[in-house]
Amino acid sequence: MSLSALTISGVDKFYGPIDRGVHAVKNLTMEIGKGEIVALLGSSGCGKTSTLRMIAGFEEVSRGAISVGGRQVHTLPPVKRNVAMAFEGYSLYPPLTVRENMAFALKAARLPKSEVDAKVASIAKLLEIEDILERYPSSISGGQQQRASLGRALIREADLHLLDEPMGQLEPQLRAVLRGRIKHFIKERGLTAILVTHDQTEANALADRIAVMEGGVLQQFDTPERIKERPANLFTGTFVGEPPMNVFEAYVATAAGRINLKLPDGLSLDYDKDAFSAPVRDQLLSRERVVIGIRPYAVRRSREGVPARVSANQWLGDQTHIAADFAGGSLVLVEHDRTRLDLGAPINVSIDPKNLHVFDQASGKAISHGMELA
């Protein structure tokens, strides 16, 4: 991935006059390698869709530059950017059948008919739209249109594939297998793909790296693994992950060689000072208040530990989600086996310092993850 497929340098987007209008994207800089799948992830209004539309050429760049394959493109019209797209506002051509829609760009590129037919057949099979190839867009469901539009983008050879909420409308029974097939397809051909989604599940499933955006600002650009293990701030930590990260405010106290993280309701997480690495310990001891985060899978039930009381126990077939009243709030645990615990049952929970995320109380910025400083 040494070759850069896309470079975004210092890009701003204003709707309205520059510096006075709505500042939708703020000084965005990103580099995406050839063959990467990148997800732009965030809730509505975070700037992800504006970013995608600037890459595609549907929106002007207010400030900064965008290059595709080393070539500056942000002043070029969309058709000159060699970018394939599947998104809203770029819908299927109504007078053409699904097959004709998918074949359109290939025919324009003067590919032989036999090759076009073979490509359409293979993508149609992958997306399970073989039986609607001769239908017109108006006569198929929203989910089918979405798959047809995705097929029309994936079939093309292009420097970049831009996919806007590509699977939002799929029926749930198809989702897992289509995610696997699409990822395999993109990887096998070495395509570079950027998808925009508000669904962190989708981003985690498909992307090599996720760009988490909020308020027009890139919060973190990292692998799914690192975002889970080393979230840059509270926003990223709680936005990515299902069930979400447990978060509590804590006062830091020390006594007799121990560090106590004091929680509401008189509870406290007590650790030997040596349970933390020296840099993390120093950081903790230099602060009065912090915010701690614990992923649900990292909460362990144990004989000792801090008392909590079960408030929900929900078995979903392959996972159990348990909620417990804890420190004036709710603590969520995930276990992979079925757990039999009645509502109201007392449990004790322990949190290994290895799994403790510490955030700055004022800014929300990460201070440490386990034994390492952020």
């Binding site: 897992a176 097939r181 499933a205 069930p243 408030s311 996972q319």
Partner: protein, 372 residues
């Protein structure tokens, strides 16, 4: 205190039968989930119980009393809907108070009732706001508060979490059981989300085309689905379904998967030699070393992480796709050649032609580590 009993309910709209001789009993204090695709008849059923519409045939009993011809306001039923249905010109407080106003409760009782339920639902700070000033999550909590405030013995919840975002849906899913249990209400809960159905239902009624196709505990529905369609509706990733023809050898009944014999545990004598479909839940498959008996050779196509699980799409030598899932952090394969093994005890077998599950009883394999 209110049980609910529906006897031979028929409801037609013009020539279409939307509920076809449906009978159902919900015990006092039970939460029953109606689960199924849109058009299955779930909402019509709720509206019949509420008394908003009348059945063409059949009887409705609430708390043992025949309510079939009783007007809606005298049935003692609270209801919340997916579109919230709040009065736009009224504050959250006044919206929540409507059932108490209708009962002509005293102003003091209304204030106390609304404030107590608002506190439980964490909307006490927005009671003076009009609906347009509320977030979707607050609207949904306001609608729930209105359904709960009169402590109706029977509560009808029509997909109340459908229009809130994933995070709130998750949070409410964990909070609802206690809210409902505290009120001691009998609940009929409509949803299209299988996780909600399993998490909230004491029992689940799976509906399609106006008929209950299966009624059982979440465990029964998940481990012993009546047919392929129901097996596909519960579980994420979706259950793997592969065509097989069971045969018998000295060790028992087996199916061939990529020329490997996988022996099944279960009463499958009637399936021998028949065209069948085997159902393998992704979590019942695991990556194993080559050479282990029953190991099936596959090629890994893609790895797609999913909420504390890793889902892997693999392809068998015969080109069949299989999804395997495992807890995050456990070992698997992310590319190249690999071998997978089937837990024969948790395999499900279906008749190819009818789609019905085969075997009178299914061996329910409790997994290791099942805590007491």
């Amino acid at each position: 205190m209110a049980s609910l009993e529906l006897k031979n309910i028929v409801k037609r709209y013009k020539s279409q039968t939307v509920l076809d001789n449906l009978s159902l009993t919900v015990a006092d204090g039970e939460t029953l989930v109606l689960f199924g695709p849109s058009g299955a008849g779930k909402t019509v059923l709720l509206r019949l119980v509420a008394g908003v519409i009348d059945p063409d045939e059949g009887k409705i009993f609430i708390g043992g009393d025949d309510m079939t011809d009783v007007d809606a306001e005298f049935r003692g039923v609270g209801m919340a809907f997916q579109n919230f249905a709040l009065f736009p010109h009224m504050s959250a407080f006044d919206n929540i108070a409507t059932p108490l106003e209708a009962k002509r409760s005293s102003q003091g009782a209304i204030k106390a009732g609304v404030e107590s339920v608002a506190k439980l639902l964490k909307i006490a700070h927005v009671l003076s706001h009009k609906p347009r000033a509320l977030s979707n999550g607050q609207k949904q909590r306001t609608a729930l508060a209105r359904a709960l405030v009169g402590s109706p013995p029977l509560l009808l919840l029509d997909d109340p979490l459908r229009n809130v975002d994933a995070k709130l849906r998750f949070e409410m899913r964990l909070e609802l059981p206690r809210l409902l249990a505290d009120r001691g209400a009998t609940v009929v809960y409509v949803t299209q989300d299988y996780k909600e159905a399993m998490a909230l239902g004491d029992r689940i009624a799976v509906m399609s085309q106006g008929v209950i196709r299966q009624l059982g505990t979440p465990e029964q529905i998940y481990r012993e689905p009546a047919n392929i369609e129901i097996a596909r509706l519960f579980g994420d990733p979706t259950i793997n379904l592969l065509d097989v023809k069971p045969a018998r050898d000295t060790r028992g009944i087996y199916v061939g998967l990529s020329n490997v014999q996988v022996h099944l545990a279960g009463a499958y004598e009637t399936a021998v030699g028949r065209d069948c479909v085997i159902g393998l839940r992704p979590e019942a498959l695991s990556f194993v070393e080559e050479g282990i008996p029953g190991a099936i050779p596959v090629t890994v196509e893609a790895e797609t992480p999913l909420n504390e699980k890793i889902v892997t799409l693999v392809r068998t030598v015969r080109g069949r796709e299989i999804l395997v899932s495992r807890p995050a952090g456990t070992l698997g394969r992310s590319e190249g050649k690999a071998h997978i093994a089937v837990d024969g005890k948790s395999a499900l077998l279906f008749d190819h032609a009818s789609g019905d599950r085969i075997g009178s009883k299914n061996v329910v394999a409790l997994r290791n580590g099942e805590a007491a």
